[in-house]
Symmetry: C2
């Protein structure tokens, strides 16, 4: 269902709309983590996260009439900002359905790019029903945040670029929300360097994918309470889950404390602002034994409100 060819075509379609983000390194970061870590800085991607790759690619693949009719998506925030930007670039209109607790900066990013915003209650409403109703009423095309081959193929270009920028990695750590990034990256890595381990990372409080992989079927958990607002999924998306079942080597979990420390590490050593969700993979790097070899992590996004970042960064530890 998802081939390396499909992903390579996605890379062609994404150029030059998407930014080729750098693979950052820092001796200070390596010292803090205890081993060298290569960091793919998708927090610098247009729209502030890797989500732009999937959203833009899906829109490019839509038949012109469907694209012109407008698109809609539910999102914890980053997919909304990404879809709004992609729609703006491709001269169509986006409607985004956001949880009431989405960071203000993510909602603002979508609004600034001309999207119509619909707010729902994460604990009470079924966002998929809201999306389906609006799509039917207004003739909009639904662009899933993870559960579509074009979206996953776009996200997967992250891994193509990582492998192009480094000779070899032994372990790739990727955060798992809906699973679209992890599924895409695993597809690339297992096709090109099968010996490389691909490990997903979830918040300890939101381990729906780890549970589902252990059970062999998709499990649903209550809405998790975690600082990583982009990883508050209750169940993995269907297509990503089936890919992760085949290709993922393991899933690690991290605490909110680990995530907070990783946000500070990126700020101090990589000069980048990452949101808690974007810090999950870096937060897990110290769980990998140094003898396992070279690690790369995906810093998946950077859209955090100052009110969230401020207490995380206020730690008085020196920048040494």
């Amino acid at each position: 269902v998802l081939t390396l060819d499909h992903i390579r075509q996605a890379a062609d379609l994404l150029h030059p709309a998407a930014l080729r983000t750098p693979l950052l390194t820092s001796p200070g970061l390596d010292a803090a983590v205890g081993q060298p870590v290569l960091c793919k800085a998708e927090c610098l991607q247009r729209g502030g996260s890797f989500k732009f790759r999937g959203a833009y690619h899906r829109l490019r693949r839509l038949p012109p009439a469907a694209r012109a009719g407008g698109v809609i998506a539910a999102s914890s925030g980053n997919h909304a900002a990404a879809l709004a930007l992609a729609a703006q670039i491709l001269a169509t209109h986006a409607t985004v359905v956001l949880p009431a607790d989405a960071p203000a900066s993510k909602a603002a990013a979508a609004r600034r790019r001309g999207a119509t915003i619909v707010v729902y209650d994460r604990h009470r409403d079924d966002r998929d029903t809201i999306v389906a109703d609006l799509a039917a009423a207004h003739g909009l095309t639904v662009v899933p945040s993870a559960d579509h081959p074009d979206v996953i193929a776009g996200n997967a270009t992250v891994a193509l670029e990582i492998l192009a920028d480094t000779n070899h990695i032994d372990t790739l750590l990727v955060p798992i929300g809906g699973g679209g990034l992890a599924a895409g990256c695993a597809t690339v890595v297992k096709a090109l360097t099968p010996a490389t381990r691909v490990i997903g990372v979830e918040p300890a409080a939101g381990d729906d994918t780890a549970r589902s992989l252990r059970a062999g079927t998709r499990q649903t958990i209550p809405t998790p309470t975690t600082i990583a607002d982009g990883l508050r999924h209750t169940t993995p998306a269907q297509l990503p889950f089936s890919i992760m079942q085949r290709l993922l080597d393991d899933v690690l979990t991290v605490s909110d404390t680990d995530i907070t420390a990783a946000v500070t590490l990126a700020f101090t050593h990589l000069k980048t602002v990452i949101e808690p969700t974007g810090a999950a993979a870096l937060a897990a790097a110290s769980q990998i034994h140094p003898r396992r070899g070279k690690i790369a992590v995906v810093l998946s996004g950077g859209n955090a409100d100052w009110t969230t970042l401020h207490p995380m960064l206020a730690d008085p530890r020196p920048a040494a």
Copy 2:
């Protein structure tokens, strides 16, 4: 004295040691500045600033015996961190002479990379004398922070990359400390796209280059008081000055307030941490009339202490 060929060779020597930093854009930043701005994120460069390009290139060009004998430099901080990292990569030793008021993070970066650190008083001591005495006593090779063709050629690769990543720019804004970055970038831009204006940016309190260009000879001012610790130069370096005299279209000045606002803009919209010095060119972007066309700015570095950044970022303005 400095040719495009020399700079293209520098680019070859710098690959892959130096990071090919991204050219960042953001609709939110454009809205705040009042026009589109392309931002070359050298804050993400290894060592945390563009200085790595010049330092590493100079070391690569040194005869092996000289390189093995150790290197020394005076620096406001970033050149020290860069030289220490370059020396570490090329398996030699660096001694760096830093002002007592250099940010702790810059001194820590140099120390972490194994450099020997000598501290001087910016207002009392003559750093060049200290460097010359230590170089003579220990047989070290001096690596100037700006005043050498190899250093300028290395820095100039910043402009090569900017022009490679965009179809065309009308104005390039570059901060001026010693002038090595501005001189190098001007050399590239005037050779490749002569109609593009190259404008230097200084803190209003440290306008030694603007004064020198007006006077036609290098002028010396008292040590400036500005938040931009990397731009507290009292006079432009000789070789960069002679290049800037020929090639610079103008010099703009910015206040510490402008610089503070630009640091916050980069944090909010570009997800990058820039130091005050690194924000100077972005701070000047709003001084360019939008009718002048496409602007690129160099975010020259990101090595700032949290104690400096914290009050700058604590502004309660929303991330919208």
